[in-house]
Amino acid sequence: MLPVQSIAAKELRSYFVSPVVYVVSGVFLLTFGFLAYLYIVFTGAQAIQLMQMQGGAAQINLNDLVFRNLFASMRFVLLLILPILTMRLFAEERKLRTFEFLMTAPVRIIEIVIGKFLGVYIIYLGMLLLTTLVPIVLSLFSDFDWYPVLSGYLGLALLGALFLAVGVFASALTENQIVAAFTSFGLLLMLWLLAGLGSILGDAASGQFISYLSFMEHYDHLVHGLIDTKDLVYFLTGLTLMLFLSHRVVDSTRWK
């Protein structure tokens, strides 16, 4: 077993004995299900209206009306929920003094960072997997295009990876879990709001650059079924940068 695997496995184990993962995934699944339900009911109501107006069968696009809205809403849910999942990763080690043990084990710091990230990412992917019940059940009763749904899930997976990496970074900064959660919450909110700043600045190079820094447009492309290398590169560089920064922070705590 590689050190990364051992650390990821240990993190998984720690998550499952603490109530955090159950509460977080419970809230996540409940929100996902509830939002899906709302959008479906709303779509149904619209369909009835359309039928009454046009008379006869109306073409309802479930991809547009249900999934796109659902995926767009999930951004906010992830922003609120994922920092709770990541807050303990390094902060708890430092609080309980197990940090010193990790730092003196013959393991490189980057292996610890990646191991911890993978541990929490596996939990997140598990949560996402459970949400696929919604499209599966829906596909039994209606027709929709699977391709944008899958690319939307790819978007959720990438967005989650970025958020979790920001959370790992925030957790490395402090030994207080609450501070860690709020730091990552704040950082993610900033990343979100950059999109707003970008749109104010408009089409100028600076505006485009600032919009590029935000995850909004990249995620939206994926939700719309558009898989563009540019967006994948954005998420992967963001992930790498955050893990690299976490590495620097963990390393630098030893110098203090």
């Binding site: 077993m1 050190p3 051992s6 650390i7 496995a9 240990k10 184990r13 720690s14 004995v17 603490s18 309980l96 003094r97 197990t98 010193e100 043990f101 990790l102 730092m103 003196t104 084990a105 013959p106 393991v107 490189r108 030893r254 110098w255 203090k256």
Partner: protein
């Protein structure tokens, strides 16, 4: 095996340790003795590559603690001040995790685990959550973690803290049994521990090494005065002042029991005869007069206490090595 050269560690303006130099030979057990805050933990953290020194070099088994950190970490087992246990794991899960991080796996790991569990008598709590264990058991799990991979160098920060007296004896025996095959540095502020377990003692105070020798040698070398204890039948209030006038007497202190006094005299000068005559002449009723040998405890207090108003320079340089820092490492067993 362990070489430390002139290491200094500063936290901002605070100097935790300054110009610390020592060596530990293979198979030797060295005690780091000092009051709380003396810099013991800092020195250990530098040796375990947890933090780099501000100045100086440290190496373990020939590997440099800064440049070859991973190699150094492979050579050591480290028990920090607080046992680094994960409360949510069981003892065997925890040790498996530790072993895997140390590159052990499969049958190799399980035999090493069985051995260390037996050595630290953790068999009865093997499948219990660490969160539910007592302080003593957690400390032993922490030790098991350090010993698991049978490292050539062990660095133990106060290994017997939180154990009951029986366990303390067991752990000391265990550490003693490591001599010869392992190099051990252990820190403690408990003196009998240093005397019982270690072949060599480094006394550290205020971030500096103030003495380094075998426990026996230290008390001999640092004895700068003879102490005599007295038991009197009647003790006038001015007895202490009047005794100070006896030629050769340096200090007079009240003893631990009522009507006892401790008289300190210059080294090598026997004043028992004069003292006895003085007391008899004053008719205080001399019941007991005996000379006291200096324990390591006295040495320790003398070296580390600032409150007694004696600046360290006052010590005879022949006795204390604070002026002369060229320590010669004694061979093991002395």
């Amino acid at each position: 095996m362990i070489e430390v050269q002139q290491i200094t560690k500063r936290y901002g303006n605070l100097t935790a340790i300054a110009h610390v130099t020592f060596r530990v030979a293979k198979g030797e057990i060295l005690a780091f003795l000092g009051p709380n805050g003396a810099g013991k933990t800092t020195a250990m953290r530098i040796l375990t590559c947890f933090m780099p020194p501000t100045e100086g070099t440290a190496s373990i088994a020939g590997f440099d603690c800064i440049d070859q950190a991973i190699e150094v970490k492979r050579q050591i087992g480290y028990l920090p001040e607080t046992p680094p246990v994960y409360q949510e794991l069981t003892v065997s899960e925890y040790l498996t995790f530790v072993g895997r991080l140390r590159g052990l796996s499969g049958k190799h790991l399980s035999t090493k685990m069985d051995r260390v569990i037996e050595r630290l008598s953790l068999g009865s709590v093997r499948e219990r959550l660490i969160a539910n264990l007592s302080r003593g058991y957690r400390q032993r799990v922490g030790l098991a973690q350090a010993l698991l991979h049978d490292p050539p160098v062990l660095i133990l920060d106060e290994p017997t803290v939180g154990l009951d007296p029986k366990q303390i004896i067991e752990i000391r025996e265990l550490i003693k049994s490591l001599a010869g095959s392992h190099s051990v540095i252990l820190s403690t502020h408990i003196l009998p521990e240093a005397t019982a377990v270690c072949q060599r003692v480094v006394i550290i105070n205020g971030g500096r090494i103030v003495a380094e020798d075998t426990p026996d040698q230290l008390s001999v070398r640092l004895r700068r005065s003879e102490k005599i204890s007295l038991l009197l039948k009647t003790m006038p209030p001015d007895a202490m002042d009047r005794l100070r006038d006896v030629p050769g007497v340096l200090h007079v202190m009240p003893g631990t029991e009522p009507r006892t006094l401790v008289v300190e005299s210059e080294l090598g000068r026997d004043i028992r005869d004069e003292l006895a005559r003085f007391i008899v002449k004053n008719e205080w009723g001399l019941l007991e007069l005996k000379s006291m040998s200096m324990t390591l405890e006295d040495v320790f207090l003398r070296l580390t206490q600032h409150e007694d108003g004696m600046p360290r320079q006052e010590h005879d340089p022949r006795d204390v090595q604070s002026d002369d820092r060229t320590h010669t490492a004694l061979p093991p067993g002395t």
